[in-house]
């Protein structure tokens, strides 16, 4: 790892940086260390559009692209209104970017993307109408309920509500990355935001793909660490728990929302029947009629209520996926630790071998030992040669252990910093989510109070 000199281009994201290379990075990347991109630049995912084109296997496909708009902050504050820079990206490009970030910054808890498609956990359970459908006066409600349910189950990525929620999720992703102390200074990220063409090539040039494949294999392999860092083990456990409890909460909440929908919508039938009834009554007619209108309003109000609840659910979902990112970091730590332990083990065994060879004692059972017993000792020249080889290997081994140790330390340090940052962010965000949930409930209650007070007035006039 020779010193690359000050004129060399920035080497980004490589954890094997030498001190001078780091310096270089600071000079050549866009953003100063410590400040986030977001402070210099407005970012938004403003729109979504459908496109058609030919895919890799030359088949016609329809897909959605999202418009990323950026504008430098400074210029705006000077009073001039600079034009927005914009480009279109599709979901798969976001995925590529994220994979790149995952590989390049293994110690970072990388913000998650909105889900690829509606997952089964989201699916609401429909219960069949329990009454005789022919005489059921609330059949129309069931059509609506079915719509609601099927809307959720639909894996249709073209569905406008799904697209809208995804747009919001993608914007959120970009904002998160742009406010991350480390990720925001990444050059590829900047290119993603600003250069429509060519960023992919630049990204691939960093050679992350190869690392990605090997890391993926390693991460998926099963291995046991002898000396796990207790903090990371706890974090991993926490990540598991967080994932499990948020999944459960999302499920339970979705089912409750479904039921609540039913309650509100059935009240709509009051509206219809009151209206019909008012036609045959004299004095009661007006009161009934207007009460009916309020029942309709009540039934209709649930749509807005549930849409707001979906936002809350999305906030929870983000942290569901964040939990996964957290676990990934812990897993990466385990891998790093494991690799260190392997290197140490290897070195120790080599040292042992040397000792045995040098002293001529065989402490451990080895095929070599056996064969030498069987076929006689080696010649002193052979022994010399072997010793020399071992010495080199031991030297290399020690280097590797040193490297891996450093790697591990570095990883542990950076990862723990990011984990702490993540913890604070999570505590803050989720608390805000809970508060906004309470505010939502309050708004729903206020609406209910208003509607039923109105209805009560109408009933009084009956």
């Amino acid at each position: 790892m020779a010193d690359s000199g000050s004129e060399a281009i920035a080497v980004i994201g490589n954890t094997d940086l030498t001190p001078s290379e780091s310096e270089n990075n600071l000079k050549n990347t866009m953003v100063e260390k410590g400040t986030s991109l977001l402070k210099k630049m407005e970012i938004s995912v403003a729109e979504a559009e459908k496109r058609t084109g030919k895919n890799a296997v030359n088949m016609q496909e329809t897909y959605t692209v999202y418009l990323i708009e950026t504008r430098p902050v400074d210029a705006a504050s000077e009073g001039t209104n600079p034009a927005l820079d914009s480009l279109w990206r599709r979901y798969s490009e976001f995925e590529l970017l994220r994979n790149y970030l995952l590989v390049t910054y293994p110690f970072a808890v990388v913000p998650p993307l909105p889900e690829k498609r509606v997952c089964k956990q989201d699916a609401l359970v429909t219960t069949a109408c329990k009454c005789d459908l022919n005489s059921c006066t609330v059949t129309s409600y069931f059509l609506q309920q079915a719509e609601f349910v099927w809307h959720k189950l639909s894996a249709d990525n073209m569905d406008p509500d799904f697209v809208e929620r995804r747009r919001v999720g993608l914007e959120n992703f970009l904002l998160r990355v742009a406010s991350h102390p480390v990720l925001s200074s990444d050059k590829i990220f900047y290119l993603f935001l600003t250069e429509e063409n060519g960023w992919k090539e630049t990204m691939f040039e960093t050679g992350f793909q190869a690392k990605a494949d090997s890391r993926l294999k390693a991460l998926n392999a099963t291995f046991r660490v002898k000396n796990p860092d207790k903090r990371f083990a706890e974090m991993k456990h926490y990540g598991d728990e967080l994932q499990s409890v948020i999944s459960q909460l999302l499920r339970v909440r979705a089912r409750a929302a479904d039921r609540l929908y039913g309650v509100y919508k059935v009240h709509g039938n009051y509206g219809r029947v009151f209206s019909e009834w008012s036609a045959i009554e004299k004095e009661m007619g007006d009161g009934l009629q207007s009460a009916g209108h309020h029942m309709d309003a009540y039934a209709a109000s649930v749509d807005d209520i549930l849409e707001e609840e979906e936002h809350y659910a999305d906030q929870l979902k983000e942290y569901l996926f964040y939990a996964d990112a957290l676990r990934t970091v812990c897993r990466k730590h385990e891998l790093t630790q494991y690799e260190l332990e392997m290197a140490v083990q290897d070195l120790t065994s080599k040292k042992q071998q040397r000792e045995e060879l040098a002293t001529g004692t065989i402490r451990t059972f080895s095929l070599k030992g056996m064969t030498s017993k069987l076929f006689g000792q080696e010649t002193p020249e052979q022994r010399e040669a072997k010793l020399k080889m071992l010495e080199t290997q031991i030297e290399e081994g020690e280097e590797q252990v040193k490297e891996r140790n450093a790697e591990c330390d570095e990883f542990v340090k950076s990862a723990w910093v990011d984990i702490e940052r993540f913890k604070e962010q999570k505590d803050h965000d989720l608390r805000e989510s809970l508060i906004s949930y309470a505010i939502m409930q309050i708004s729903m209650c206020k609406k209910g109070i208003q509607v039923w007070n109105n209805a009560k007035e109408c009933f009084n006039k009956m």
């Binding site: 006066t137 009661m284 009933f459």
Partner: protein, 469 residues
């Protein structure tokens, strides 16, 4: 044909016993002629219309009643208070049944005392209802709770079922007590005051089986023939009854549906709180707000539970009563139609007879009569006499039926108005209560969540965090 003992003395003009004190002052407004006519007709009634003691007294008051449709039932003038409570289980060798305590407090002079307490079972209520309906076929008797629970899910001795039934029985008696005609019914009085032995023997009186059979046969015959000249107002009522029946049934169904959905919502909501609580166990900073949210959700669950209970206990029984009322309305209209049909049949028969008589006076049927040795004049005289007699009978009979029809029509009309007022009051009050309860439910939930916000605010200020609003 009548097996009942008709107490003629009561209807001889002494109306103070029968008529509720509040309209006794208005008797002076009666047209004298009408009054006399009515009374004299009453005393000679002897045919198959099933009379009993209560009908005698009540018809007098009824005549007065239908002149005063604007009569209001003031709370001040309420002089009888009936309560149904204290269900008790009775086990005998043959069966197990429930009795209810019926307590009466009254200042009415026709009652021997001012307070009564008896125990009655469902059968007794059924008997009372039957008697009232028999006596007043075109008056609207408030429905009783059903004999069996249709859905078959509820066991007869289930606590909720008993309570629902008790409440409905209470309402039934109170409706009877408020009704100007029914409340002066002798059967009603006996129901409220008699010991169980006395009640049993009283039950055994009343029109015999045969007379009732006779009535039924007539009714069926009339029903089969159908009514021909039904006045428009009764057709309008029929249409109203049909439509009302539909609407109230729908509302009943919708409300039951709401209750079901609310219950299912509650089931799901009950799992949310514990999930938040579980989550709080893995958190540090977030533990407190999460526990708090869990508490809030649990409190909202409780409120939802109470709200569902209120719907079940208050709105649904009222709606159910009026579903049954709608059926009563239809039945009452049917019975009125039958009376009219009877009248129409008799009118036709009389006309035919008269035509016979006229025709007969012209025809000289000489042949047979001369054979028999009677003079044509003699025979004609005999026949004319006979026809005259028959016509008189039929005329008398027809007059009675005509009176009966007029009385039935007027009774129905005024009771219909009365019933509509009652329906309006009851349903307005029930819906009003429900709306109020819903407001209260939302207000309570609002308070729960606002206290959560408050706690987070004070927390934030305590930690020096950014204030939010």
């Amino acid at each position: 044909m009548s097996g009942s003992v008709v107490d003629n003395t009561v209807s001889s003009g002494n109306s103070s016993v029968a008529i509720p004190t509040d309209i006794s002052g208005q008797i002076l407004d009666i047209d004298e002629d009408d009054d006399l006519e009515v009374f004299s007709k009453d005393t000679t009634l002897s045919d198959g219309s099933s009379l009993n003691a209560s009908m005698q007294t009540s018809s007098a008051s009824m005549i007065n009643q239908y002149k005063f449709e604007e009569e209001e039932e003031d709370a001040d003038t309420k002089d009888i208070f009936v309560t149904v409570d204290n269900p008790e289980s009775h086990v005998t060798a043959i069966e197990t049944y429930i009795t209810y305590r019926v307590e009466t407090k009254t200042t009415r002079s026709e009652f021997d005392s001012s307070e009564f307490e008896v125990r009655r079972r469902y059968q007794d209520f059924l008997w009372l209802k039957g008697r009232l309906e028999e006596a007043h076929p075109t008056l609207i008797v408030h429905p009783l709770p059903e004999k069996f629970v249709m859905k078959g899910m509820v066991e007869r001795f289930n606590e909720d079922f008993i309570e629902t039934r008790r409440s409905a029985l209470h309402k039934f008696l109170n409706k009877i007590a408020e009704h100007p005609i029914f409340s002066s019914s002798e059967d009603f009085k006996i129901f409220l005051t008699a010991g169980s032995g006395e009640l049993t023997s009283h039950k055994k009186q009343g029109p015999g089986f045969l007379s009732r059979m006779g009535e039924t046969v007539k009714a069926v015959a009339a029903a089969v023939r159908g009514v021909r000249g039904r006045p428009q107002e009764f057709t309008d009522m029929q249409e109203y009854a049909e439509a009302f029946s539909q609407k109230i049934s729908s509302i009943d169904k919708v409300t039951q549906r709401i209750v079901r959905e609310q219950k299912e919502y509650l089931e799901e909501l009950k799992e949310c709180g514990p999930t938040y609580a579980l989550w709080s166990q893995s958190e540090e900073e977030l533990a407190e707000p999460l526990k708090n949210v869990a508490g809030c959700v649990d409190k909202c669950c409780k409120e939802t539970e109470e709200q569902v209970k209120h719907l079940n206990d208050h709105l649904i029984p009222v709606l159910h009563e009026y579903v049954l009322c709608a059926d009563t309305l239809k039945a009452v209209l049917r019975r009125r139609d039958n009376i009219q049909a009877d009248f129409e049949v008799k009118t036709e028969a009389l006309a035919t007879k008269k035509a016979d008589r006229d025709a007969d006076s012209k025809v000289l049927s000489l042949a047979w009569d001369s054979l028999v040795g009677r003079s044509p004049e003699e025979v004609k005289q005999q026949k004319q006499q006979k026809l005259k007699g028959e016509i008189k009978e039929m005329r008398d009979e027809l007059d009675k039926v005509e009176d009966r029809l007029e009385w039935a029509n007027n009774a129905l009309k005024s009771d219909w108005t009365r019933w509509q007022k009652g329906m309006r009051t009851d349903l307005r009050s029930a819906f009003n209560d429900t709306a109020e309860r819903n407001v209260s439910y939302y207000e309570k939930c609002l308070a729960v969540w606002e206290s959560f916000l408050q706690s987070q605010r004070t927390d934030a200020e305590g930690n020096g965090n950014v204030d939010f609003s």
